[in-house]
């Protein structure tokens, strides 16, 4: 297409025909020129007061203490009330999916650690689940138990830290956070002993787990799990009936069940809105059918419900852990028939999903028979849960927006991938 002057562009945009006879005819499609600037114009707040210049546009982030990473909220404030909020992300984009398409199936496992760096073990599992589905590999019994144990420990870790961070956003000077981190320390010590790494565990393999757990490790895990309810009681004594916490969280950031379902929200956020949907129950994976546990469900869908659902979920996780630690059999942890190097799954596609602490974590893989995935797609729960932030925040104050964001439970590594 020949270079057009601005006037010609304008004319063609208005449908006034070709201003120049040599110009493109109907056979070659001419894109209408952009009406405005090439970047997205800032939304004009529609209220009458906005016209008088009584609103304040604040960019909260990307460097802000309570945006949980490099995340920005473009907020329009009327006094302290929010009349518009646009979440902007992508600051931490690392080309995750394409990177994984470039390597072999095995090489993608360490990358999954870096998605949600609080829950590397569930990330591992979700990916491995997808690959196992794709190639039809089975994991031995003991490995399945170890997966359940590590995944539930991850849930304990994630939820307790999240509650700590939520209180930090509420201005609680780090005391709950430090309590949570004390427990987290015990859990990451267990991870370190089992996998060699505290956060980036890189533990699971298609057809099992990388290393076996020693009898001593299981014993120590048992002790940590037995002590955990004590910590939960202490935590709840400090927080659950705290008058200020109740005042700050009840009725704030309400999310209706309908909107939550329509937006694809999953995990504790969805359950807090009153939808009993937990993949461990709805589409059991691994060996979750064997364990007796319950799924707590809220009804108001506000920040308090999201907080409480997580507290109750931790108690259920402790229940699962106790059963799993009692029943874990002896045996190998890796399927000897499963190949890891030079691994070529048959042509096909598979979607593996599980209930990660933050919601439904899914990996969608397409194989073309080569050692590399043809398509590698991640369904990241924090990303999808974040998209309805504005609906929850409108009408609340800036202070509330911070804790609503905190209650969504995001990790930017997973949101931006």
């Amino acid at each position: 297409m020949s270079r057009q002057t601005e006037g010609q562009q304008f004319a063609s945009a208005l449908g006034m025909g070709n201003a120049s006879p040599e110009g493109p005819r109907g056979d070659s499609p001419v894109l209408p020129p952009p009406a405005g600037p090439l970047y997205e114009a800032k939304p004009k707040p529609g209220s009458a007061r906005a016209a008088e210049g009584e609103t304040l546009e604040v960019a909260v982030g990307p460097h802000h203490p309570s945006t949980h990473g490099v995340f920005r909220m473009d907020v329009v404030l009327d006094g302290e009330r929010i009349i518009s909020l646009k979440p902007r992300f992508g600051y931490l984009h690392r080309n995750h999916e394409k990177l994984c398409e470039g390597g072999t199936y095995l090489m993608a496992i360490p990358y999954t650690d870096r998605l949600d760096y609080f829950c590397s073990l569930t990330n591992n599992w979700a990916y491995v689940l997808a690959v196992e589905k794709l190639a039809g590999v089975e994991a031995p019994e003991r490995a399945e138990y170890l997966r359940v144990i590590t995944a539930e420990l991850t849930r304990l870790l994630n939820h307790s830290c999240l509650v700590g961070f939520l209180l930090q956003d509420m201005g609680a000077m780090g005391t709950p956070l430090m309590y949570a981190f004390r427990e987290r320390e015990k859990l990451v010590d267990l991870f370190e002993e089992l996998t060699g790494a505290r956060m980036m565990c890189n533990y699971m393999r298609f057809g099992g787990c990388r290393t076996d757990a020693s009898a001593g490790w299981l014993e120590r895990t048992r002790r940590v799990v037995d002590d955990f309810p004590r910590f939960l009681d202490e935590f709840e004594d400090l927080l659950t009936s705290n008058e200020i916490l109740l005042a700050r969280t009840q009725g704030v950031g309400k999310l209706s069940a309908e909107l939550a379902i329509n937006a694809g929200v999953t995990g504790p956020m969805l359950r807090a809105s009153g939808v009993a949907y937990d993949i461990r129950k709805a589409a059991p994976y691994g060996i979750y059918e064997r364990f007796a546990f319950r799924v707590p469900v809220g009804e108001h869908g506000d920040v308090y419900d999201r907080y409480m659902i997580r507290m109750l979920e931790m108690r259920e996780s402790v229940r699962i852990l106790k059963q799993a630690l009692k029943e874990i059999p002896e045996g190998p942890v890796l399927n000897p028939k499963a190949r890891r190097r030079n691994f070529r799954p048959p042509v096909g596609e598979a979607y593996g999903r599980l209930e990660a602490p933050k919601g439904e974590l899914g990996f969608y893989l397409i194989s073309d028979g080569s050692p590399r995935p043809y398509r590698f797609r991640i369904r990241a729960p924090s990303f999808i849960n974040l998209t309805i932030l504005e609906d929850m925040c409108l009408g609340h104050t800036l202070q509330d927006a911070v804790i609503i964001l905190g209650s969504v439970d995001i990790v930017m590594g997973e949101v931006d991938r």
Partner: protein, 393 residues
């Protein structure tokens, strides 16, 4: 021992010729106040960090000096050698003036505090009034800081600070009115004198030992927490929402000055609380009266400071509108109720029999409790409560 500093000052003043003695006396008092309380600011930051550390299961500062005691020195040095950045868009004059406007009034307030027997810099007849009036000047500093920085967060924080401090001035003043009413004087030194042991008796007559005094002390401390922007009322600072509020565009020593102002204000208001309700420099029981009076004063001040640190370590922050609601709908009526209680107490003084005395106590305690119950039912309805959750199998 008790009069050590008084005598020391008298001796030093005596070295000078008569015409300049007044000026020398004033300079010594002012220097002592600034020196002692700046030193205490350093100590308080250490104490707060150490205390918060212990509350949070950590050790707190422990690298610099024994038990980390020199941490404030290191912090101060760091603050001094940091670059002083003034944003290009800022109003330079106002930006420079604001931290000074925060610090100066808080230092002025010490002039009337009796820190020991005969140890107030100026024994003013209307000392309490002076204290409260000067304390109100701090707001200008915060507004100026927020406005001159040309920063949206700073502006939000400044407006929050202004609204909060003005709102809490009312309950703060009304909480101290009963003391004035009962004591019949505005002079802080005389108020402390009245809280002594009297002719006989082992127990001191602290205002906090009466029902209205205890309630007044609690109300005063709540209002003082808000007045000095401490957690859980630290919205103006709000580091998780508006980062540091009015201070966001300050660095280096100007930033440290804000903190100096905050802590000086905290000591001043703790000192006032101790003076009005906890008997100032008076010992609680007679057999402890050998301890120097200034020692008692500083012990009580540290006690109040400890309360502030405890609160800060425990509670999350309120929301701005809830904070305002608390001030106008709860604290203000409560102070008025307390005022009535104090009036009844004063009116029935010198009760002839023990049952009259018991009735006095019952009324004095029952009135605020009833008021509290009624107000919480009226203001905080629907009452927020824990919820019951259902489980899906």
């Amino acid at each position: 021992m008790d009069q050590l500093f008084v005598n020391l000052k008298a001796w030093a003043v005596g070295l000078f010729p008569q015409p300049v003695q007044l000026w020398v006396s004033m300079a010594i008092s002012a220097g002592a106040i600034v020196g002692v309380f700046s030193g205490m600011f350093a100590f308080a930051t250490w104490m707060e960090r150490k205390g918060l550390g212990r509350f949070q299961n950590r050790l707190g500062p422990n690298r610099v000096g024994p038990w980390g005691l020199f941490q404030p020195v290191a912090d101060g040095l760091k603050m001094l050698i940091k670059e002083d950045i003034v944003p290009r868009a800022a109003d330079r004059g106002a930006h420079f003036l604001a931290p000074l406007l925060v610090v100066t009034p808080t230092v002025l307030a010490y002039a009337v505090l009796p820190m020991g027997r005969g140890m107030s810099a100026v024994d003013m007849e209307a000392g309490l009034l002076f204290f409260l009036a000067v304390g109100g000047l701090k707001e200008f500093g915060f507004l100026l800081a927020g406005w001159s920085s040309r920063n949206k967060y700073a502006l939000l924080g400044a407006l929050r600070a202004l609204a909060q401090m003005i709102s809490y001035e009312a309950p703060l003043v009304l909480a101290v009115v009963p003391v004035v009413m009962v004591a019949g004087t505005l002079s802080l030194a005389q108020i402390v004198e009245l809280q002594g042991f009297g002719e006989s008796g082992a127990l001191a007559h602290w205002m906090a030992f009466t029902p209205w005094g205890a309630v007044g002390f609690v109300l005063f401390m709540i209002a003082a927490t808000a007045e000095s922007n401490r957690s859980p009322f630290d919205m103006p600072e709000g580091e998780s929402e508006i980062i540091a509020g009015p201070m966001v565009e300050y660095s280096g020593f100007k930033y440290a000055l804000f903190y100096l102002g905050e802590y000086m204000g905290l000591f001043a208001v703790s000192g006032l609380g101790a003076t009005l309700f906890l008997g100032g420099w008076q010992a609680p029981v007679r057999f402890l009266a050998w301890f120097p009076s200034w020692g008692w004063f500083f012990l009580k001040l540290l006690f109040c400071l400890g309360l502030f640190i405890w609160l800060r370590a425990t509670l999350p922050r309120l929301r701005v509108d809830q904070l305002m609601g608390l001030a106008w709908k709860f604290l203000l009526p409560m102070t008025l109720i307390n005022l009535v209680g104090a009036g009844l107490w004063r009116w029935t003084e010198g009760a002839p029999a023990w049952y009259w005395e018991a009735a006095r106590w019952a009324i004095g305690l029952g009135l605020p409790i009833l008021g509290w119950r009624a107000l919480s039912a009226a203001v905080f309805r629907p009452r927020r409560r824990r919820r019951v959750y259902r489980f899906a199998e």
